[in-house]
């Protein structure tokens, strides 16, 4: 024992508490309590739904290749974009970035054997397929068709499908809240001895900020859709102005959740980028504390800006000002993060792995989405741009160019740890270029189309195409490029399955990374850490020995440890 670093935990003591792994297929893979298996379950469920929701998006894009609407009726189109948005936000992004990444990575990074409440964790996951089933079953009743926001009164015309939509969102909200609670307690109480708050890996900070938002914000959404459900089913007039309700009330409650929701999926992506950039630059993260605290600042500010979604929607004029100013204020911590990541690149030894390419792409596309966000935060400009394709473009730059790119950076990074095999770099890098080019080609033209006068959620745009003849070309252009993104996700799915058998064997620490998960075998054993490790330093000092004790018994079994199998440096794109 090293005096002074750990007095409360005796390594001997903890060693005795390892539980035997469960036996039988069901206990092992279906109703598993293991955070790693649950992470996998989230991952594969999320990826499957991403395909479905992505196909909806492709149908939406195909419809817009003709100003009159190319392939389906208005009603069907409205259902498609509603289902695309709903499924992507609640059944893909939130489960993937919090459920899959948070579950698999966070406990390993803090040196824990599992999350604080494994049963709750299992329940959180199994709510997801249930919610997905409820949501997709609404298609049997015509599907909801009022947009992913489902504003009343228009959403009340959805009938049974709308009620099912409410039920699905309410259900998934329970899962989010429970996951948030679980992760907060895990991070607060189960960090390895010696891992102070400022020695936590930045992904853990990000997960902590996300968990806080998940726990606080989701209840507002549950209340909003709960009331909408009552209005659907029992005709309780919460939102009916004619009977004393208020349609704007729903918007307030919806956005009180849904603005933080954007940060719920972007902040874990920040965390991923904060891990990937130092690892592949062989440099400590620049401004650790500023990045960690700015995540918390964003998480708190996120609760104070919701009404910027509602500037033209019936807000008292004076209320527009504080929401505008607070939204501008969010730009400051976000800017600090971007500049810190850039400074981390400076003077590094940069390896262009698939993860790193996605992280670099993230810096560019997310910054673009952030800047157009400042445009929209300004009340006068928002009065022009609100409700147009400019918003759609901005939003997708943040979500696809931010959250999804961060997630795509995370997959090749942690896949070796999760499976013991490396993903194919060749396919990965090809996937990156397809995604990056597809993303910009799809969402960049939306900005000028929107400002020129194309409202969003348009099943046809005959009148707009008369005013702006180029609109037809740009819409077809976007549709063509959107298929590149789809192809990239298809490649990823193939890569993930193919590499399970055919990937290179990864070893303990293929990237030469320095957080705790890279000190145990790949895939990690059921109990993660045989002895609970002790932490005595910061995680990103690449020129120093690893700041962990008690890991040696594990490492002895792996003589290759310390040798990275980082791909030989090559020019960008050479792997393709």
């Amino acid at each position: 024992m090293h005096a002074g670093t750990s007095t409360t935990h005796d390594a001997h003591d903890v060693h005795d508490h390892i539980h035997p792994p469960p036996e039988g297929f069901v206990r092992k893979y279906v109703f598993s309590l293991d955070h790693k298996v649950i992470g996998f379950q989230y991952f594969f469920t999320g990826l499957l739904i991403m395909f479905i929701a992505g196909s909806f998006a492709e149908l939406v894009r195909l419809q817009l290749t003709d100003p009159k609407g190319a392939i389906m009726s208005h009603q069907a189109y409205n259902t498609m974009f509603t289902m695309h948005g709903t499924a992507m936000v609640w059944l893909v992004l939130i489960p993937l970035v919090t459920g899959a990444l948070g579950n698999f990575v966070m406990p390993l990074q803090i040196g824990a054997r599992d999350v604080a409440f494994p049963w709750l964790n299992m329940a959180s996951f199994w709510i997801l397929p249930l919610a997905a089933l409820i949501l997709f079953s609404s298609l049997l009743f015509g599907g909801p068709h009022a947009g992913w926001t489902e504003y009343p009164p228009i959403s009340l015309a959805d009938g049974t499908a709308g009620a099912l939509w409410c039920a699905a969102i309410f259900t998934i909200g329970i899962s989010s809240t429970m996951t948030g609670l679980n992760f907060m307690v895990t991070i607060m109480k189960m960090r390895a001895p010696g891992m102070t708050w400022t020695r936590m890996p930045l992904f853990v900070w990000a997960t902590f900020a996300t968990a806080l938002m998940n726990m606080i914000a989701t209840v507002a959404l549950s209340a909003a859709v709960g009331a909408l459900f009552l209005e659907h089913v029992f005709n309780v007039p919460f939102y009916d102005a004619a009977r004393g309700g208020s349609a704007v009330l729903y918007e307030h409650m919806f956005w009180f959740y849904s603005h933080p929701a954007v940060y719920i999926f972007i902040i874990p992506a920040f965390g991923v980028v904060s891990e990937v950039i130092p690892t592949f630059s062989r440099k400590p993260i620049f401004g650790y504390k500023m990045i960690a605290f700015s995540s918390m600042a964003i998480a708190i500010l996120a609760f104070t800006v919701w009404a910027h979604h509602m500037f033209p929607s019936g807000l008292a004029p004076w209320l527009q000002l504080p929401f505008m100013i607070l939204t501008y204020a969010i730009g400051i911590p976000t800017g600090i993060k971007i500049f810190s990541w850039m400074a981390t690149l400076w003077g590094g030894r940069i390896h262009f792995t698939t993860s790193m390419l996605y992280a670099l792409g993230f810096l560019i596309t997310f910054t673009f989405g952030g800047i157009t966000g400042v445009f929209l935060a300004s009340v006068p400009v928002d009065l022009h741009a609100h409700g147009t394709y400019f918003v759609v473009g901005h939003f997708h730059y943040v979500v696809a160019g931010g959250a999804v790119m961060g997630f795509l950076a995370a997959i090749p990074y942690w896949y070796p740890k999760a499976t013991g095999r490396m993903l194919s770099e060749r396919l990965g890098q090809l996937g990156f270029w397809l995604f990056f080019i597809g993303l910009n080609g799809t969402f960049l033209p939306m900005h000028w189309l929107g400002l020129e006068g194309m409202p969003r959620r348009y099943a046809s745009y005959v009148d707009f195409a008369k005013a702006v003849p180029d609109a037809v070309f740009w819409n077809q252009f976007e549709t063509a490029f959107s298929f590149l993104m789809m192809a990239s996700i298809g490649l990823l799915a193939f890569n993930v399955i193919w590499s399970l058998r055919h990937g290179k064997v990864a070893g303990i620490n293929p990237w030469g990374a320095r957080t705790l998960e890279w000190t145990i075998s790949s895939p990690p054993p059921y109990y993660n850490f045989k002895k609970v490790p002790e932490v005595y330093g910061r995680p990103y000092d690449f020129d120093k020995p690893l700041p962990y004790r008690n890991t040696d018994n594990e490492l002895d079994a792996f003589p290759e440890y310390g040798k990275t199998v980082m791909p030989t440096p090559q020019p960008v794109g050479a792997g393709v």
């Binding site: 009164p153 401004g287 100013i325």
Partner: protein, 369 residues
């Protein structure tokens, strides 16, 4: 134990900021200046329609704010993307590096961090100031209105009500008219779901929310015809909720208002139902009614009920108004519209029906068995 030997913090340092840092910075500065000059002096009509000839006094203010953000946002974007690409190339690992080569081990640079916190903050404070000025003008800056017009959202058209005009103007059949140079106040609301009134060239929009009246204030500066669009999703035919706005000289506007008044008076005359012909009515039905009604039993609704058995449905012996299905009572619905539990049928102005049209339609509907 696979720990490396403890070393002192890596003291590899580059001379200056790296190879080619200053030339790259120069290029990025130059590009930012070109971007700024373009947005300040170039034509941005392709992205902001009508920017070179503002349609209202507020449009130029909003465009000014847009240009400010495009200049500085463009510069930030260029520098971030430029440096990311430059750093990635300049500091790439080379095959000559030893496998465990590390980068410069620096953790922070408080002065630099202070700068990149303070400068964006200052920029955002300036932007806040400019935004508040424009916001104040939009909310409170327009002179006392010379014309107040009501805009009422319906699925899927706008209804405009002018002072002194007994009947409404409907976006489906005729454009909205506004006089040039007169301060205008639009009072905006909705009868059914949330809509949004937006004229891209005016740059302003406001939601039409049931139970709430919002206003937009501006002064049109030049004449022309512009598109009006609904920009909040309002139902199945949201994308067809389109109209025109004609901004014209005051004299022309007054003339238009007079002619509307005359049309309204003429429409008040009696309808000669006996003169209607079913064949003409059938053609008219396809044109005017088929979007919402089909010739099918009552239950087969599109938006409104099916009309096949309007006069002889044992399950529905009365019309939706509760009256007997005589030609006169059918004509009444066509003239005045109807609002009930199953929805709203627009009135004759909204549907653009003349007296003869109504007679023909009634003749056609009565002939259905």
């Amino acid at each position: 134990m696979a720990q490396r030997i403890v070393t002192r913090p890596n003291d590899v340092r580059f001379k200056g900021l790296g190879p080619g840092f200053w030339p790259v910075t120069m290029v990025l500065t130059l590009l930012s200046i070109v971007n700024a000059l373009y947005f300040l002096y170039g034509s941005i009509d392709w992205i902001m329609p009508g920017a070179s000839q503002p349609v209202t006094d507020r449009a130029s203010d909003i465009d000014g704010l847009f240009k400010f953000m495009a200049v500085f946002g463009g510069a930030i974007m260029l520098f971030v993307a430029g440096y990311v690409i430059y750093f990635a190339i300049a500091f790439r690992a080379r095959s000559s590096d030893s496998p465990d080569a590390v980068g410069v081990q620096i953790h922070d640079a408080p002065k630099l961090e202070l700068w990149w916190t303070v400068l964006p903050t200052l920029l955002l404070i300036v932007l806040t100031g400019l935004s508040i000025v424009v916001w104040y003008k939009i909310q409170f800056g327009t002179a006392a209105p010379g014309l107040t017009t009501e805009v009422i959202g319906h699925q899927f058209y706008f209804e405009y009500r002018y002072p002194g005009l007994k009947t409404s103007v409907f976006s489906k059949t005729s454009p909205m008219h506004l006089p040039v140079g007169v301060p205008v106040r639009l009072l905006i609301t909705s009868t059914d779901v949330i809509h949004q009134f937006w004229v891209p060239e005016i740059r302003l929009k406001a939601a039409a929310v049931p139970g709430l009246v919002q206003n937009l204030n501006f002064t049109p500066l030049r004449t022309g015809t512009f598109d009006v669009a609904c920009s909040e999703f309002c139902g199945v035919d949201h994308s067809l909720m389109h109209g025109k706005l004609v901004i014209e000289p005051v004299a022309a506007f007054k003339k238009w208002l007079d002619s509307e008044n005359k049309t309204a008076a003429a429409a008040g005359g009696a309808i000669n139902l006996a003169a209607g012909t079913p064949a003409t009515g059938q053609a008219l039905f396809a044109q005017k009614c088929a979007a919402c009604h089909q010739i099918a039993p009552f239950e087969q609704k599109l938006v409104g009920p099916g009309l096949l058995h309007i006069t002889d449905d044992p399950a529905h012996p009365a019309l939706v108004t509760g009256k007997t299905p005589t030609p006169e009572h059918i004509a009444e619905i066509l003239q005045n519209g109807f609002t009930g539990p199953i929805g709203t049928m627009p009135n004759r102005q909204a549907n653009g029906l003349s007296n003869t049209d109504i007679a023909n339609l009634v003749a056609y509907l009565s002939s259905l068995k």
